[in-house]
Symmetry: C2
């Protein structure tokens, strides 16, 4: 964890940025996807290094708890500026009490992932205030034959600080124009941290949520936990990403995500914004968890303001990315 391997930011910008790939949760089932991910990320201009236990296996996990913890330590010693999870699954929750969040934050590395990785990102934010990136993962997003071009663009632009405004179609959103700390991620993981020291205590935040493979009643029950825990009412906006592969039942009789959102609107006065391109889908934005952002809606569109103008380099034009509906 010496600083010797960490060249100053200015010098590093002249070289290909490095990505260190580690597997903090579920085992890698198709190692060939990681090879494709390295090739695809190389085409995007990144040098990838695969952690030596990234394809390890212990039961359903990518190696023992000790191996997965050691991977984070190796990532900190490696010169790569970006640390990306290969995939989610389940496993970070186990590691939370043993991760050195201070060292992770002090490294200045940019940690990227989603799904189970939400637990890492929120714990890092709770313990240190450090920003990390909710975004693509190597196997899931870059391991296929084709890579979603917009996902790749958004990843490159977000991490290089070029992306100022992410705009997306959001036809049934509440009116909002607010600024606050962006936080959230996978709803099940956000909810699983309630009551623990790993959930950041954020007032006036912009809470974004997505999930996969959760039925409508489970989504509602999780939102209710956030509501009854006093979390939802403290936010300036709730931004819903994609909820996919929702199991339904003949018992539902019209009860679905739309019904849940309608019901939620009756419970909270916080504006609800829909349509965020984020979740277990090929098209996903790369979002700074823990950074102050703006959110506004107008004429069926939503605008997530990631950078104020004065932050960008003067040779980058004002950069806005429109996301058409899928």
């Amino acid at each position: 964890m010496s600083d010797l391997h960490q060249p100053p930011a200015r010098a590093r910008r002249r070289r290909r940025p490095g990505i260190y790939l580690l597997s903090p949760a579920g085992a890698i089932i198709e190692p060939e996807r990681l090879e494709r991910a390295r090739a695809n990320l190389r085409k995007l201009g990144f040098n990838c290094t695969l952690d030596r236990t990234a394809t390890a296996r212990e039961q359903r996990f990518a190696g023992t708890d000790a191996q997965r913890l050691a991977a984070f330590e190796r990532a900190l010693r490696h010169p790569a500026d970006i640390v990306m999870a290969t995939r989610g699954g389940y496993g970070i929750s186990r590691l939370l009490p043993r991760l050195d969040f201070r060292a992770l934050a002090d490294s200045g590395k940019r940690f990227v992932g989603h799904s189970d990785f939400t637990a890492f990102q929120l714990a890092l934010l709770a313990k240190t205030g450090a920003v990390s990136w909710a975004g693509p993962m190597a196997s899931y997003d870059f391991g296929g034959e084709a890579v979603d071009e917009l996902t790749a663009d958004l990843f490159v632009e977000a991490l290089s600080g070029q992306l100022e405004i992410l705009s997306f179609e959001s036809p049934d959103s509440d009116p909002v124009d607010a600024r606050g700390v962006l936080w959230g991620g996978n709803l099940a993981l956000v909810t699983a941290l309630v009551g623990t020291p790993y959930l950041p205590k954020i007032r006036g935040g912009i809470l974004f949520l997505e999930d996969v493979n959760e039925s409508a009643y489970r989504i509602e029950r999780m939102l209710l936990q956030l509501l009854h825990a006093g979390i939802l009412d403290k936010q300036k906006a709730i931004v819903l990403g994609r909820f996919t592969e929702m199991p339904s039942s003949p018992l539902d009789q019209g009860y679905d995500l739309t019904a849940v959102i309608a019901w939620l609107r009756g419970q909270v006065r916080v504006p609800i914004v829909t349509g965020l391109p984020f979740g277990h889908v090929p098209l996903k934005a790369t979002l700074p968890v823990g950074a102050k952002v703006g959110i506004a809606t107008q004429d069926g569109m939503a605008y997530l303001v990631l950078q104020e103008h004065h932050h960008h380099d003067h040779d980058d034009p004002h950069h806005q990315h429109d996301i058409a509906s899928a």
Copy 2:
């Protein structure tokens, strides 16, 4: 909510005890099960009254939220001493902020149910300290052609105060001999209350848990939330009921409930007791949630002491129920 309908306990014992059946959560799909339940409960010596919206339907719920809330109010006005849920599903979480727990506790009624009903029981305990009964539900446990005899016996004995000790096979339990407040129920519902005002703050308790249709990793993640929230370590014992219909995956590679329990033993010093006859299975005990109980293990058996000797009527013999393994 007048006391006029509530005859003194001594007089009431001479008559058939009454059970008021209401549907606080999921819609009743097979109303004929409720008819069978009433007949079966009558054979056991109970007069059953079915709430007038017990078979109502609104989406997946047994009526609107307002209808389900009104059912609790009607139950309080009815002379029946016992209030039993017809079934679980999902729906009580929505009602929690609008239930009058003080009036419910002051009624002296004995509320019985499990699964989703856990949310009601724990909220009642958190808000008032009142004891309720984790036990059978009309449709699930009494609505079939045959009723599990032991479940019926345990229900009758527990509610009449005759059951002193519930003993069950528990071959791989940790040594324990402790007393504390019995609490818990369905793991997903216990966990969904963490961080909310509806989870009782119990130190030195005996926490019992069961669940259905949750994969091993979800069970572990829920236990981890209880662990990281500081709840598990404060208990004198964790008593595991049945975990059934657990979805498994080829990815698990040996990771299962046994692995989860082994892992949990490495995380907490609290004794873990297995084999409690409770869960989404025909054989279930009726357990006083919020009452002080004893728990002990010896020679592969566990003993849950529900009543001290001086509590029973002198004409009842010392009453112990042995549960052989299924």
